[in-house]
Point group: C2
Chain length 209, copies 2
């Protein structure tokens, strides 16, 4: 079902990329250049986000586009604190490519030229598991759109322990909750490609478990 592969450069920034090519090669890219991302790309990413389904078409999302260095530093500090909390008393993590990549993101979080904080309307309640079905499809559309535009991104919510502090820092009303934060930038020495996954068969059942 794939189209013929275009040369690398075009493949990485191809607004005409095929759906299945994008799905099959989208993955977390955590190394970004500081170069600015054009506003029209950021808007295109969010335009993709609002096309996703939500329960009763409630469209319970709000998007905060963050380029202000001070705001980014604040968000980075909550991400670092949550990382440090999680490391406390834990055995040392194995030095895998994934762990190095995650640590790089944590240490350089504020260096992404732009971030999008995706918020969910909850009316002030703490959101329940199924409420995620009205916001994370939108986030996935955004990650796919970033991939289509040749931009690096990754879904983060490792800061969730400090979600109330993030709301306070950005003036988010209590009727909303931060669901995901996407740092976005041009990939720095990393590129899209098939993600590492178990074979389909190991997660598949027929008619019943």
């Amino acid at each position: 079902m794939r189209r013929n592969k275009p040369p690398m450069q075009a493949q990485q920034a191809d607004a005409n990329i095929g759906l299945f090519e994008a799905i099959d090669t989208q993955r977390a890219l955590r190394y970004v250049k500081p170069d600015p991302v054009p506003d029209r790309y950021v808007r295109r990413i969010i335009e993709a986000g609002i096309k996703a389904p939500s329960g009763g078409n409630s469209q319970p999302w709000e998007f905060i586009v963050i380029r202000d260095p001070e705001a980014k530093q604040k968000l980075a500090s909550f991400y670092r604190r949550a990382w440090a909390d999680a490391e406390q008393g834990q055995p040392t993590q194995p030095d895998t490519v994934n762990h190095r990549s995650a640590r790089h993101l944590m240490e350089h979080f504020a260096s992404a030229p732009v971030m999008i904080l995706v918020c969910l309307y909850t009316g002030g309640e703490n959101p329940a598991f199924y409420d995620g079905s009205s916001i994370y499809p939108s986030v996935q559309n955004m990650l796919l759109a970033a991939r289509g535009l040749g931009l690096a991104s990754v879904l983060t919510n490792g800061w969730s322990k400090y979600e109330p502090e993030i709301r306070a820092a950005l003036g988010i009303p209590e009727q909303y909750r931060a669901a995901a934060l996407l740092p976005i930038g041009y990939p720095d020495g990393v590129r899209y490609g098939p993600p590492r996954r178990d074979p389909l068969e190991s997660h598949l059942h027929t008619d019943r478990w």
Copy 2:
């Protein structure tokens, strides 16, 4: 960014569809024909699902492909019960296109030739809101893949009140929870197109709320 539109027939079943064309025209299609869906399409949809990100690449998903009429009837009965529970004591719903469409789905739920139940590993705990970030991106990939293959689908979890009963009916271990159920079939008199959405500006903020 859209490609030139191909004729309608091709547009509805175009495995080479562009990413942005698919994102911009994917929406809930709730009227399906009873005609069988080829297994390779069902597999392609789930292959798309397992390409989505999950926290720490944990791949906490399991997929049950359901074609057995008895199993479908059971699922339909829980969907109907949840609908009836929700209607009790509620004012009569306005007779909108959306409500008629949702009612049609409820009344004909078992007539979809195939369903995919997407389950999440939780270790037995009730899943929390942020756990949705490891399963609903997968569901969105599946809805986009269905759109790319010209198949109708819709994200349902209106049955969630009866999730334990669904687990019992399908033999799902207590370490897992049902997150979404996708009825899938060829569209019956409905087609993909731009979804009805608020303008981007009404959900957009810069640097802070």
